[in-house]
C-alpha cells in the first residue's frame, strides 16, 4: 500500500517535470512574447496574424490571451501592479487605462522606434497618451463612430420612403414603423452603457457637438447648460419607442431585436455591425448619421479611438516586443483588421473595402465630434459616465429629470476636473 502510494508520487513528480522542463529549454531557443486583450471574439483573427508574424520572425513566438471584456481591466491592473503582466497589451482608450499609464506601467513609445505613429492624426494619438505626462504609450488601431443603423426592408414595408434628416422626421418614421407592426428601435434600458452610447449618438446635435465639447473641457460651459439638458431630454423622449418592458431588456436581447428583424432601427456604434451579422448573416443593414435637432442645428457623428497596443514597461523582451508592435502597425495588419473584423482603421493608408464601413467612415470624417464622456471625462472618479449610465436608466422611467441628471453630472465632474471646479 505504502509503496504503491510512493510510486504514484514519483509518477506525479515525473509528470510535472516533464511538463515544466521543455518550457524551460525552449525559452532559450525563441523569445516568447505574451499578448493580452479583451477581445475574446477576435481570438482566431489574432492567432492567424501571429502566424504570419512568426513566419517572418521565427525567433519570436507570441501567445495571445484574451480575457472577459468586463474583467480585463481588473486582471490587467492586478498583474501590472504586481510587476507582472504580458509583454504586449491591448490598451483601452483615453481615461480607460490612463491610470495605469500614469503609474508607469507602459513603455513610452517614440516615432523613431514605432514609425507608424507618425502617420496618425493628433486626435487619434491622444487616445493612447498619459493623462498627466501626455507621453505616447500606445499605438491606436481603430476608431469607432456612432450613428443610426436601419433595416431597409422594414422601412419599405412601413412606408418610410426617405431617411430622417431631422428629429421630427425621425419621430415620424418611428410612428410609421410602429403602425406597421414593427418595433421602432431595438434599443432598450437594461444596459446603462448602451443608453450612454444612444445619448452620445443623438445628443450632440442638441448640445452643439464639438464647440460644446471644447467649452466644457475648457470650463467655459457646464453640463447644466440648457442645450445639454435638452440632449438628455431627447433620450427620455425616445424611451416611448423602445420595446415593451424596455427597462429589463439586456444588451444582447436589444441587439438581437434588430439583428432578427423585429426592430427597424438601432442607435449605436459601428462595432455592432459585426455582431448583427454574426447573428443574422443575411441581414440588410443601412447606416445614417443622427438627424439634426431642428432645421437650424448641425448633424454630428460621435467618434473616438477604440483602443491601442502598448508594451509593458517591465518587459524583458523589449526588442522583440517592439518588433511585434511594429508588425501591428503595418499596412497589411491594418488591412486585415478592416477586412476581417470590419473595424474602422486609424491609419489613413488602409483601404476600406466593406461598403457599410466605408459609408460610416465617410460621415465620420465630415461630421465627427468627440464622444464627450469617453474623450473628455473618464480620467478620474467619479466620471461623467458613472453618473450618466445609471442616471439614464432612471431618466427613461421617470425616476429623475433631465435637469437633475445634468446637475448630478456637473457636481461629479466638478469634484475632480480643475476647469469645472466651483461651477454648477
Amino acid at each position: 500500500m505504502k509503496i504503491k502510494r510512493f510510486r504514484g508520487l514519483v509518477a506525479a513528480l515525473l509528470a510535472v517535470t516533464a511538463v515544466v522542463i521543455p518550457g524551460a529549454t525552449s525559452a532559450s531557443a525563441a523569445t516568447e512574447l505574451t499578448f493580452w486583450s479583451w477581445r475574446t471574439e477576435d481570438k482566431a483573427f489574432y492567432e492567424n496574424q501571429i502566424k504570419l508574424f512568426q513566419a517572418k520572425n521565427p525567433d519570436i513566438t507570441v501567445k495571445f490571451t484574451p480575457y472577459l471584456n468586463t474583467e480585463y481591466n481588473a486582471i490587467l491592473a492586478t498583474a501590472l501592479t504586481a510587476g507582472k503582466g504580458p509583454d504586449i497589451i491591448q490598451m483601452r482608450p483615453y481615461g480607460g487605462m490612463s491610470n495605469l499609464s500614469d503609474a508607469g506601467n507602459f513603455m513610452p513609445l517614440t516615432a523613431a522606434e514605432v514609425p507608424a505613429l507618425k502617420k496618425l492624426p493628433a486626435g487619434i494619438l491622444a487616445a493612447a497618451q498619459g493623462y498627466k505626462d501626455k507621453k505616447q504609450y500606445g499605438l491606436p488601431y481603430a476608431v469607432s463612430a456612432l450613428g443610426i443603423m436601419y433595416n431597409p426592408d422594414i422601412l419599405e414595408q412601413s412606408g418610410v420612403r426617405a431617411l430622417p434628416q431631422t428629429w421630427a422626421q425621425l419621430m415620424e418614421a418611428f410612428n410609421k414603423v410602429k403602425k406597421a407592426g414593427f418595433l421602432p428601435i431595438g434599443n432598450a434600458g437594461g444596459n446603462g452603457p448602451a443608453l450612454e452610447q444612444l445619448h452620445a449618438t443623438i445628443g450632440p446635435t442638441f448640445y452643439g457637438g464639438t464647440s460644446f465639447f471644447n467649452d466644457v473641457v475648457a470650463g467655459k460651459k457646464a453640463f447644466t447648460d440648457k442645450a445639454y439638458v435638452a440632449s438628455l431630454k431627447a433620450v427620455a423622449d425616445i424611451a416611448k419607442y423602445m420595446p415593451a418592458n424596455y427597462q429589463g431588456i439586456d444588451y444582447n436581447t436589444m441587439r438581437g431585436l434588430f439583428a432578427n428583424e423585429k426592430a427597424a432601427f438601432y442607435i449605436g456604434g459601428n462595432y455592432e455591425i459585426g455582431y448583427f451579422r454574426s447573428l443574422n448573416p443575411s441581414l440588410n443593414i443601412g447606416w445614417f448619421p443622427a438627424p439634426k435637432a431642428n432645421a437650424g442645428a448641425k448633424r454630428y457623428v460621435g467618434t473616438w479611438a477604440d483602443g491601442s497596443y502598448a508594451i509593458n514597461a517591465k518587459t524583458a523582451n523589449k526588442a522583440a516586443a517592439l518588433k511585434f508592435l511594429n508588425f501591428l502597425g503595418t499596412k497589411e495588419f491594418g488591412q486585415a483588421l478592416v477586412d476581417e473584423i470590419a473595424f474602422i482603421p486609424t491609419a489613413p493608408y488602409v483601404k476600406i473595402n466593406d461598403q457599410a464601413v466605408k459609408e460610416i467612415n465617410r460621415w465620420r470624417t465630415t461630421l465627427g465630434t468627440p464622444f464627450l464622456n469617453v474623450v473628455g471625462f473618464r480620467y478620474e472618479s467619479p466620471t461623467s459616465s458613472s453618473i450618466l449610465q445609471p442616471g439614464f436608466q432612471k431618466l427613461i422611467v421617470g425616476g429623475t429629470t433631465p435637469e437633475q441628471l445634468a446637475k448630478d453630472v456637473q457636481t461629479a465632474v466638478a469634484s475632480w476636473y480643475a476647469p469645472q471646479k466651483g461651477k454648477s
Partner: protein, 305 residues
C-alpha cells in the same frame, strides 16, 4: 512527567498550526492591514502618492459616493433581513420535512442541495434567460394564463430587480441552511423527543419547545454566515446587474461599490483606490463587529443538550 507531555503536545499543536497561521497572515492579515493603510493615502490610478489622513473617508461621505453608499447599505440590509426571514425559515422547514420523511431522504437531500453546487454564473444566466422580458418563459406563462399585467421586466425595473435577486439567491442557497439544520436535527438526542412524546406533547409543541431550542447552535451559524454573506453580497448582483448595480443602481451593494471604486468599471472608467480602500475598511469593520457581536449574543441563548 505530565507537564512534559503537555509541553510536547503543545509543541505538536504549535507545529500543526503554523502552516495555517502563515497562510492566514500572508493572505488575510497582511492584505487587510495593507488595505487599511491604502485608505489613508492619495492615489493616482494605481500609484500611491502622499499621506492624506482621513480625506478618503471624507470623500466617501460626499456626493456621489455618499448616495451610492447609503443605497448600497440599504440594499445589503434588506438582503440580510429578507434572506434571514425567508431563506432560513424555508431551509428549516425543508430540513424538518427531510428529518421526518420516511423514505427517499437521499433523493430529497440531493434535490434540495443541488442548486448550491451549481456555478453561480450559470445560475445567473439561467435566471436572466427565464426572467427576460421579451423572450423569457416566466412572462410568457404569466401572459398565457391570463395575467399579462404581472409580466414585468423583473431584472430591469428598479422596484423588482432587488426582490428578483433575493428570490434567485433563495433558490440557489436554501439547500445550505437546510443541510445544516438537518445535521443539527440528527444530532439531537432522540431521548428528548421520546420523553416529550411520552409526556403527551404534540408535534408542534415538540418542535417549538424541544427541537427549536436545541437547534440554536445551527441557527447561530446560519445567522452569522447569512449576515456576512448579505453584507458582502457580490457574485449574484455582479452577474445580473454588472458592477454598477443596474438598473439605476437599484441592485448596488457595498461589495460592488468597493469593486467599482478600487478597480474601476470598464464601462464608466476611472477608479479611486483610496476611497475604495476607505470603503473596504468600513465594510470590514461593519461585518467584523456585526458578526462578533451577533455570534456572542446568539451563543448566550444556546442550550446544552
Amino acid at each position: 512527567m505530565a507537564s512534559a507531555l503537555k509541553r510536547d503536545q503543545q509543541r505538536a499543536i504549535g507545529a500543526l498550526l503554523t502552516p495555517a497561521l502563515i497562510i492566514i497572515v500572508v493572505f488575510t492579515t497582511i492584505p487587510a492591514l495593507t488595505t487599511l493603510s491604502y485608505a489613508f493615502f492619495g492615489w493616482e490610478g494605481f500609484k500611491r502618492t502622499t499621506f492624506v489622513g482621513f480625506e478618503n473617508f471624507q470623500l466617501l461621505f460626499q456626493y456621489p459616493y455618499l448616495d451610492q453608499f447609503k443605497a448600497a447599505l440599504k440594499h445589503n440590509t434588506i438582503a440580510f433581513v429578507v434572506i434571514m426571514a425567508f431563506q432560513t425559515s424555508i431551509g428549516l422547514l425543508l430540513a424538518y420535512a427531510m428529518f421526518r420523511v420516511k423514505r427517499g431522504l437521499r433523493f430529497y437531500r440531493v434535490v434540495v442541495f443541488l442548486p448550491v453546487i451549481f456555478s453561480l454564473v450559470v445560475v445567473g444566466y439561467l435566471w436572466q434567460a427565464l426572467l427576460d422580458p421579451y423572450y423569457g418563459p416566466i412572462n410568457q406563462i404569466l401572459t398565457g394564463i391570463g395575467f399579462p399585467e404581472l409580466a414585468k421586466p423583473w431584472l430591469g425595473d428598479t422596484a423588482t430587480a432587488l426582490p428578483s435577486l433575493m428570490f434567485i439567491n433563495l433558490w440557489r442557497w436554501v439547500g445550505f441552511p437546510a443541510i445544516v439544520f438537518l445535521a443539527g436535527l440528527n444530532a439531537i438526542n432522540q431521548e428528548f423527543l421520546e420523553a416529550a412524546r411520552i409526556d403527551g406533547a404534540s408535534e408542534g409543541q415538540i418542535f417549538r419547545k424541544v427541537i427549536f431550542p436545541l437547534l440554536a447552535p445551527s441557527l447561530t451559524i446560519i445567522t452569522v454566515l447569512t449576515f456576512i454573506g448579505a453584507y458582502e453580497w457580490f457574485d449574484l448582483p455582479f452577474v445580473l446587474g454588472g458592477s454598477n448595480g443596474s438598473p439605476a443602481g437599484s441592485t448596488d451593494t457595498l461589495a460592488l461599490m468597493f469593486y467599482r471604486l478600487s478597480f474601476g468599471s470598464i464601462d464608466s472608467g476611472a477608479n479611486n483606490v483610496g476611497v475604495g480602500s476607505a470603503l473596504g475598511v468600513l465594510i470590514f469593520t461593519l461585518v467584523g463587529l456585526g458578526a462578533a457581536l451577533g455570534s456572542n449574543l446568539l451563543r448566550r441563548r444556546e442550550v446544552e443538550q
